[in-house]
């Protein structure tokens, strides 16, 4: 049995590409009105809870300020991202991938367990580099898959005036359109933080094997790791 199912690997890379395009085009969109508000309305920078920096062109898509084209990249990639997330969730539940690998177990929510997991990854810590995730990984992947990624979809939908009549309760639940816009921004940066930690962790733990595993599938027993 492979360590990562084919559908997981496909989703991982498609999702990564979609997220990068969404994030960088999102920074371009942010430059159009660099103030965030709470509530239903907000247009006066004096009422903003956060004044956002102007993101430089080199980190945005496209690489100049162009709201129309940035929105095209963003609203097109959003389909890939949202459809992919839906497929991945259906697969994870039907195949029991979620229950087997990601759902937290009794005892996972204990700082002592987290410290143990971290210690095991220090030199000589004796961590098993097998297919199973430790408590910290289960919590991190669970929060990203179950909260951060879906919240990007929900907050994004709630900003859309054409979608709102289909589910006005969603906008209310999020505290109004401008609150949804603020949350969209906050969760996007949360995902950016996850992205950085995720890459650092891969680089610190046999990166070639990890990346090859996410491409070719790897082995579930991790015997080659011994």
């Amino acid at each position: 049995m492979k360590r990562h199912a084919l559908i997981t690997r496909l989703w991982h890379w498609i999702n990564a590409a979609a997220l990068i395009v969404l994030f960088m085009s999102g920074l371009n969109i942010s430059n159009a009105h660099r103030h965030l508000y709470w509530g239903h309305y907000g247009f006066d920078p004096a009422d903003a809870w956060l004044h956002v920096t102007r993101f430089p062109a080199w980190i945005t898509i496209p690489q100049r300020y162009d709201l129309a084209e940035a929105r095209d990249w963003h609203n097109t990639s959003a389909w890939v991202f949202a459809a992919g997330l839906l497929v991945m969730w259906v697969f994870s539940i039907v195949s029991r991938h979620f229950w087997r690998d990601i759902a937290t177990r009794r005892g996972d929510w204990s700082p002592r367990v987290w410290v143990e997991a971290a210690k095991a990854h220090l030199p000589g810590g004796g961590a098993k580099h097998d297919a199973s995730y430790n408590a910290v990984q289960r919590i991190a992947y669970g929060i990203v898959l179950g909260v951060f990624l879906p919240m990007m979809v929900f907050t994004g939908l709630a900003i859309s005036p054409g979608f709102e009549p289909a589910a006005p309760w969603m906008v209310d639940l999020l505290g109004g359109r401008q609150s949804a816009r603020s949350l969209h921004f906050i969760f996007a940066w949360g995902l950016c933080a996850f992205f950085i930690v995720h890459i650092v962790m891969v680089l610190l733990s046999k990166p070639i094997k990890q990346i090859a595993g996410m491409i070719a599938g790897g082995t579930r027993e991790g015997s080659s790791d011994a």
């Binding site: 009105h33 006066d44 609203n75 859309s160 005036p161």
Partner: protein, 249 residues
């Protein structure tokens, strides 16, 4: 200078997808994919809610202190300045194109029609929102009075303002034209529209972004296709900046 090198490297890594995207967008098929994706958004919105589903309406206390003026906030033409000076007493709204009974309406004619008052949120493509009360006749009443012809597919809004040397205009399809909240507003929060918000008349297209809500309205034109108007993309920002014609997202 390792710091500069690291920054250059980071910039290069970030620029890679961006440069690839810029290349793609400017060389062809991406534009078609973007337009298709926007079409799917429109289809999905109209499938999930009914075509006549209302945008949220708010209570008077929910209104924002003001509605920001954006795009044109002052119309410089001598005709407009003169019209404003006499309180728009001679302002006419021409209802023409594919109608059996074209109309020319004065402000009094427009105020004499059945009125709809709605407190709705105005969402700008830039990201900000304002909430205000708008009053005016439903566009559907005008389309019926002027007897829209069967071959009409779109309603084009003609405006008095000129931006970057071009006449502002916009268009919607008949689903949005006949939507109950699509009104020709003359009052904002119970007073005549201020100039920055489109005096004396502006459209409210409540399920789309602000650039669809044409201001300084002079005419309503029914057409089979908007390909021959402006650059053929259906609106001022669509022509000049490649903004999407469907602005529901």
């Amino acid at each position: 200078m390792p710091d500069i090198k690291r920054r250059t490297l980071l910039a290069g890594m970030a620029a890679l997808p961006a440069a690839a995207c810029t290349e793609l967008a400017e060389t062809g098929p991406a534009g078609d994919i973007f337009d298709a994706a926007e079409g799917w958004h429109r289809t999905a919105h109209r499938a999930l809610a009914s075509r006549q589903a209302l945008a949220r309406e708010y209570a008077p206390d929910d209104r924002s202190p003001d509605v920001k003026g954006n795009g044109t906030v002052r119309v410089e033409s001598p005709e407009y300045r003169a019209a404003q000076a006499d309180g728009f007493a001679n302002w006419r709204l021409q209802v023409g194109g594919l109608f059996d009974n074209p109309l020319s309406l004065s402000m009094d004619d427009i105020r004499a029609l059945p009125q709809r008052t709605q407190i709705t949120r105005h969402d700008c493509v830039e990201g900000w929102s304002a909430i205000a009360e708008w009053t005016g006749p439903q566009l559907s009443a005008l389309l019926d009075a002027a007897q829209l012809r069967e071959e009409a597919n779109f309603i084009v809004f003609r405006c008095a303002d000129v931006l970057y040397g071009r006449d502002y205009y916009e268009s919607v399809d008949l689903v949005d034209a006949y939507h109950p909240q699509t009104i020709i507003a003359h009052d904002l929060n119970g007073s005549p529209l201020p100039e920055k918000n489109g005096a004396p008349l502006r459209m409210r297209i409540e399920r789309q972004l602000g650039y669809k809500h044409a201001k300084y309205l002079t005419g309503i034109e029914a057409v089979a296709s908007f390909e021959q108007i402006g650059d053929g993309k259906g609106g001022f920002w669509e022509d000049i900046g490649d903004y999407q014609w469907y602005a529901g997202i």
